[in-house]
């Protein structure tokens, strides 16, 4: 199960992670809906690009620009959070959405927890695989912690001050000092 488009849905994608004795060149990518590491994609591009369905995932220390011009080839791009405190994935997502033109499913994987989901959704993630030991229905609540935001990001192209008429000192009418 994952969270996608603000709902808990079933999911049959498999995230491929290399074990210590496997290399990007030699690992066998099983058939089916597989999300492969960026390095596997780069090493086995010739074989993989003919697949009907394919996903790729980026580690937090990898650059999204590596996928420049290729993002349309994937049904899903995932970004791994090795620890939830590693915030590089937020800028990776921002760059994928805002600068590399990716419009498909963008999934947060790894140490994904309820209290990060609101921020993740703002920088362009629309799918979340919360850590398996956590209740996914509980995690879903994290998407609605706030109903208003100040600044622009992927989900909101206008800052609050361009979007709404904000009260000033002359219009507030309640300044009773």
């Amino acid at each position: 199960m994952i969270i996608k488009n603000k709902a808990v849905v079933s999911d049959d994608w498999i995230v491929l992670r290399l074990s210590e004795n496997e290399t990007p060149e030699s690992v066998t990518v099983p058939a089916g809906k597989i999300i492969v590491p960026l390095k596997v994609w780069q090493a086995q591009r010739a074989n993989l690009q003919s697949r009907a369905e394919l996903g790729v995932w980026l580690a937090s220390n990898e650059r999204p620009e590596e996928l420049k011009g290729e993002v349309v080839k994937f049904n899903v791009i995932a970004v791994d959070f090795p620890k939830f405190a590693d915030g590089r994935g937020y800028s990776i997502a921002y760059n994928l959405r805002s600068r590399l033109g990716y419009v498909g499913e963008l999934r947060a994987i790894g140490d994904v927890l309820r209290d990060q989901l609101f921020y993740m959704q703002r920088v362009g993630f629309d799918a979340f695989a919360p850590r398996p030991d956590k209740n996914i229905h509980d995690a879903l609540k994290g998407l609605t912690d706030f109903s208003e935001t100040y600044q622009i990001s992927v989900d909101q192209k206008l800052p609050l001050f361009r979007r709404v008429q904000r009260d000033g000192i002359t219009t507030a009418g309640s300044v009773n000092e």
């Binding site: 939830f84 405190a85 590693d86 915030g87 590089r88 937020y90 800028s91 990776i92 921002y94 600068r99 927890l113 209290d115 990060q116 609101f118 921020y119 993740m120 703002r122 920088v123 509980d138 912690d145 706030f146 109903s147 208003e148 935001t149 100040y150 600044q151 622009i152 990001s153 192209k157 206008l158 800052p159 609050l160 001050f161 361009r162 709404v164 904000r166 009260d167 000033g168 000192i169 002359t170 507030a172 300044v175 000092e177």
Partner: protein
């Protein structure tokens, strides 16, 4: 000052609800302590030695009388009747229960206050000049920009999990009173030759383990671009700042590693496609926010009040206070008054609930209901009629806030130290008290004149020791004892410089004598009206070093430590370091 509109209220109220649920999940063990720690830190909640500590944001140091009364209420209801004003213009409560913190934040929200991003690896509370709006040397009031940056940085989704904490300071006057050169980003508002307003942008300054003066990344950034330009700085740092070693993870290390030219190139490359985009600040929004910071209804008054002039000649104590604690105001007949939180015997920056209520009343009666917290841990009434100075002096003196020591040796900047903080190697508050008592002689203090003595209990340097004229820092020694390293010649402001360590460290008992010897060198070497820092700059560190180490300093434990301990310590006191935060 700024007042929340419906959106500000909504965001802060939703934060309280979110945090309340996080605490509920922690108390029911749905969240482990490891998972909860970053969440509570982003709300300013630390687990200290004795209890939870909550750091409350005082945006750019500005606080209303209503807010101050709420702080007094919280001190009484949830704490032990006092709070501690910090070097980042915030307020800390030291004795809280976790279960109470959601209610405290709900109380704070009613007066437009919060603990958002007062800790954690995110953009922290933005600090500024405590004399903003009233300083004679002000070019542009920095407060509207500070408020706009506060809102922009609040819950910024991309920059909540940075490699390390991130501090922005902004100054709008000729003299830098915001220490912008030792911040991750320092902004200085200025006008160019065409009269346009913009910012000089500094990046990569800081103290702690690797003290560095910030580098200029942009000489003039038109004000409209401040949000997008900072966004690009943050994005480069978020991606490339080191995350493998917390001591090398501040932006200063990144800037130093790749050089300011390369860092600038990366920022400008990132900025290229968002410059002039919708994130650009509008004149309408600037005007909306700036309208909250317009001058209060000043009266037309004579430049100098005759009552003050005559009373000063007959009352030495008042004259001393006038000289040290009263600063010039840009409007004739008004004055800026600093209420000292540095009374000898009191921990620097501490204020009791009673004092908080008193200053709220003083603000209402004498200063349009507003106060400022200074980064030197005092309070300021910024708009006082000179004709009220005598009354204000008497009333603040009755409540222990008129020590005439602003800018003098006993106006010590000091972190909480090992009495409270799990990070500290050594105590700082008792040391500050011991030094203050040793030099508690007004004539001597005034003879020494302006000097900045800054003390930190550890390498994290919350007490700004590196930029103190005399800096004292607790150092880690294998024996577990309390040892202090001393530096001379540091300075903040326009000529910010990192002080130089004079030599091997001293123990707790030796420190007052060390300070005494440094002062003796100054008094021997000074020329006429020269200040300590000027003498130090002229003669260098060597004469200080030679004299301090010339003869042994008695290190025996002859002082009754308990007299100085804020919390009574056992005789064989050693610092117990616990896990971080």
């Amino acid at each position: 000052m700024y007042k929340y509109d419906v959106y500000d209220h909504q965001i802060v109220d939703e934060r309280v609800a979110q945090y309340r649920d996080q605490v509920r999940r922690r108390l029911s063990d749905e969240l482990t302590e490891d998972e909860f720690r970053p969440l509570r830190l982003q709300n300013g909640l630390y687990m200290q030695i004795h209890a939870y500590m909550l750091r409350i944001a005082v945006p750019y140091g500005l606080v209303s009388s209503a807010q101050m009364r709420m702080l007094a209420h919280i001190a009484r209801k949830y704490d032990r009747g006092y709070g501690h004003f910090t070097t980042r213009q915030n307020l800390q409560f030291n004795w809280l229960k976790l279960e109470d913190t959601p209610d405290i934040l709900a109380d704070l929200a009613t007066v437009e206050m919060h603990g958002i991003q007062t800790s954690g690896n995110c953009i922290r509370n933005i600090t500024s000049d405590e004399y903003a709006g009233v300083a004679a040397d002000e070019i542009i009031d920095p407060r509207p920009y500070a408020e706009i940056l506060r809102q922009w940085s609040t819950f910024h989704p991309e920059f909540a999990f940075l490699p390390r904490k991130f501090k922005i300071a902004i100054n709008g006057a000729a003299e830098d009173r915001a220490a912008i050169a030792v911040h991750d980003i320092g902004l200085s508002v200025l006008k160019n030759e065409q009269g346009e307003i913009g910012f000089r942008v500094l990046v990569g300054g800081g103290t702690a383990r690797t003290p560095i003066i910030a580098s200029e990344i942009c000489g003039f950034l038109p004000w409209q671009h401040v949000l997008t330009y900072i966004e690009s700085i943050m994005r480069v740092y978020n991606q490339y700042g080191r995350r493998d070693n917390m001591y090398k993870s501040r932006i200063k290390i990144l800037v130093k590693a790749i050089g300011i030219e390369e860092f600038r190139r990366q920022v400008e490359a990132d900025w290229a496609d968002i410059k002039n985009g919708p994130g650009t600040l509008t004149v309408e929004e600037l005007n909306r926010v700036a309208a909250y910071f317009t001058a209060p209804a000043y009266e037309t008054l004579p430049a100098n009040d005759p009552g003050v002039a005559s009373f000063k000649t007959e009352n030495k104590a008042f004259a001393n206070w006038l000289q040290r604690n009263v600063k010039p105001h840009k409007i004739p007949g008004y004055a800026v008054v600093v209420l000292s939180l540095k009374k000898t015997g009191i921990a620097p920056g501490d204020a009791s609930a009673e004092q908080m209520d008193v200053v709220a009343d003083l603000a209402d009666r004498f200063s349009f209901g507003e106060l400022r917290v200074t980064h030197k841990q005092n309070l300021v009434l910024a708009d006082v009629k000179q004709s009220e100075l005598i009354n204000l002096w008497k009333e603040s003196a009755e409540h222990g806030m008129a020590s005439p020591n602003i800018g003098l040796l006993t106006d010590i900047i000091c972190c909480p130290g090992a009495d409270f903080c799990t990070l500290a190697f050594a105590r700082s508050i008792p040391l500050a008290k011991m030094i203050a008592e040793r030099f508690d002689n007004l004539d001597f203090l005034h003879d020494i004149g302006e000097i900045e003595l800054n003390m930190s209990g550890c390498v994290n340097a919350c007490g700004h020791n590196h930029i103190g004229h005399i800096g004292v820092i607790g150092v880690d020694k294998k024996d577990g004892g309390e040892w202090y390293q001393v530096s001379v010649g540091g300075a903040q402001g326009n000529d910010a410089v990192i002080g130089k360590i004079i030599g091997p460290s001293f123990n707790f008992q030796q420190m007052p004598e060390v300070i005494d010897r440094l002062l003796q060198v100054y008094m021997r070497e000074r020329i006429e009206e020269e200040l300590f820092i000027d003498t130090a700059r002229r003669i260098g560190m060597t004469p200080f070093k030679e004299y301090v180490y010339a003869t042994p300093i008695n290190a025996e434990d002859t002082v009754d430590k308990s007299a100085y301990g804020f919390i009574s310590k056992p005789d064989n006191y050693t610092v117990q370091r616990k896990s971080r935060f």
